[in-house]
Subunit: 359 residues, 2 copies
């Protein structure tokens, strides 16, 4: 197989993998294609956490003998056994696959390189690193989680062209257009959890659910040191769509806690920092322990500022609307030294989408 | 000639026309190509204000007989005589051109459609409207001037990702990168004049000259109601590179006026408005009378705000650097109702360039 073919089928794997987006976390998204005599004879993808791996699905779905064929899969096949599903490597070997083409090695220390080694030891040719940057980008939540043990954090800032997220801290200002709204719902369906601060609950009264697009609802997280969110906030009517977690200070009134718990909200009490803010690394570690590997932070200013100040983020997505507000509040309260670069810019309906990453 | 050929050669006209950018104002940029038997046999462009028109240059440069050929030119050939150069239409007719293909009709009421009519009356086939939007965009300064009698005004805002143009009104904050700096110098070489407010003179102490790229220097305009600019500002050392004009209130001290005039600065005194601001429409009319058809406004906040508030602008170019300032000042002091749309976005080195136009 030549490089061109390898790229073609690995890109097909990426597209198949994307079918699992939002459903496979904390697993990576994986797609697989089996090619025999230059023709794709079977495909598979990891559909949902706990279900079959992409390779297994492709091998099982094949309607003809797969021996002597090439298996394309964007992530190194697994070889460890202490998990829900049987390992893929022995199955690949038993099916007499001739060559395996991979985009990324699995960073999981139980696999990392061992899957490739076992395949090679069985006489299978293994080619790695095809479109590996694209593969990394596709599964950046997973790779980041494996490396840092923390969720991949994206701050989503909707602002005017002159950098205002609203006219004041007291009232909602709707700036961005329909396509941006849809994009935000898409993101909610892709990230494991969505986070806002208590003031945003009060001002925007958002449900944080996925409505504008098809997709599953994220876990909803509220940062609320003083447990000041009104019990009648719309978000508390969404407990049936998935978990709602409030992080608050230890000192809060048990009556309010009880009241919210009765509405299906989980309250996690932490010791606040001397600044009065919640301990962000502690919050992120708790989320990571619960296998929340991606977090979409929707504001407001206090929350954004804390993430930037403590350098606890991976990406900033700015949705910038073609209006000038002049007065109003910005996303951040201070200047920060975080080194950023522009990863992508594109039009989003009448708005502009700017994606920044840490250098 | 088919449409594809027409588009190809009209686009070539645009490229030729661009060679005159910065030099032909208040004339439009025009390029011309002569095509005979499917081959381009001569080209021309308007090089400099007062010099030959594109059509004339192309016809004169042709090394073979042009009779029976097609003339491509992005603007309708002129037919009026009360100007520096002889009209092009009689020359085109005398050279026995068979067909003339045009992008835009000339909005000049002395020409508008009359050039086309004279050509047709002489039996020449005339095709108009090829890539007319692109042609309009190319000569938008000229078309706007013909329509409104005012300069085309672009506000250039260099800001952080959170919409801050600086940390304060007292000190310069350098936000954007090298490519943005180069771009600004390119714009200075393309616009007839550059404008800043007195506070920007004090804080940035910019020369407003073209240094990072090749090109001619623009006319430099300072809005300074109280005539408070320091005489030792760097900009006053640039009088040899072209005119410096200060607009100020009538009430100013004649000693300071004399002092600045001795440095080669032209002082234009106007009656201020009750707000204390200079009368912007009056300023723009004075510039238009001097055949300044394009104005690049480089700040700061007071100037930007006045242009937006009075709706006296055509375009806003935002150069947005990948930094977050948190505190600081924004481009505008108030919310404005101007309807804007995003015309173009593109990366500019490490920054983002966003071009907005009025809806």
């Amino acid at each position: 197989m030549n490089t061109r073919q390898n790229i073609k089928y690995i890109k097909r794997c990426f597209n198949l993998a994307l079918k699992g987006r939002g459903w496979v976390s904390p697993n990576p998204m994986v797609g697989a294609v089996i090619v025999k005599n230059g023709k794709a004879i079977s495909e598979g993808w990891h559909k949902k956490y706990g279900q079959a791996h992409a390779e297994v699905m492709a091998l099982q779905k094949a309607k003809q003998d797969v021996s002597g064929s090439t298996l394309y899969v964007n992530l190194e096949p697994c070889c460890h056994t202490n998990k829900n599903t049987p390992p893929c490597v022995p199955l690949i070997i038993s099916k007499k696959i001739k060559c395996v083409v991979i985009s990324n090695e699995d960073p999981n220390p139980q696999i990392s390189g061992k899957g490739v080694k076992q395949l090679r030891d069985a006489g299978i040719e293994v080619i790695t690193g095809i479109c590996s940057e694209e593969g990394y980008e596709l599964n950046r939540f997973f790779f980041n989680y494996m490396k840092s043990g923390l969720p991949y954090v994206t701050l989503k800032i909707a602002q005017s062209m002159d950098g205002k997220i609203g006219l004041s801290n007291q009232e909602q200002t709707w700036l961005t257009g329909e396509e941006s709204r849809k994009f935000v719902h898409q993101m909610r369906a892709q990230y494991d959890a969505v986070m806002i601060g208590s003031n945003t609950v009060k001002v925007d009264n958002s449900k944080l659910t996925v409505r504008e697009v098809k997709g599953r609802n994220p876990i909803k997280i509220i940062m609320d040191g003083k447990l000041s969110v009104p019990e009648n906030s719309k978000i508390f009517r969404t407990a049936h769509t998935g978990s709602i977690i409030i992080f608050c200070d230890k000192t809060n009134d048990s009556k309010k806690i009880k009241l919210l718990e009765n509405r299906g909200v989980e309250i996690i009490q932490l010791k606040s920092k001397r600044t009065g803010l919640l301990n962000l690394p502690e919050v992120l570690k708790i989320l990571a322990k619960r296998k929340i590997i991606s977090l979409f932070v929707e504001g407001g200013q206090t929350i954004f500022s804390q993430f930037l100040e403590e350098n606890q983020f991976n990406e900033i997505t700015i949705l910038q609307a073609p209006v000038m507000l002049g007065e109003g509040i910005s996303a951040f309260t201070k200047a920060y030294k975080n080194k950023l670069y522009v990863k992508r810019i594109e039009p989003l309906g009448r708005d502009v989408k700017i994606i920044l990453q840490k250098l």
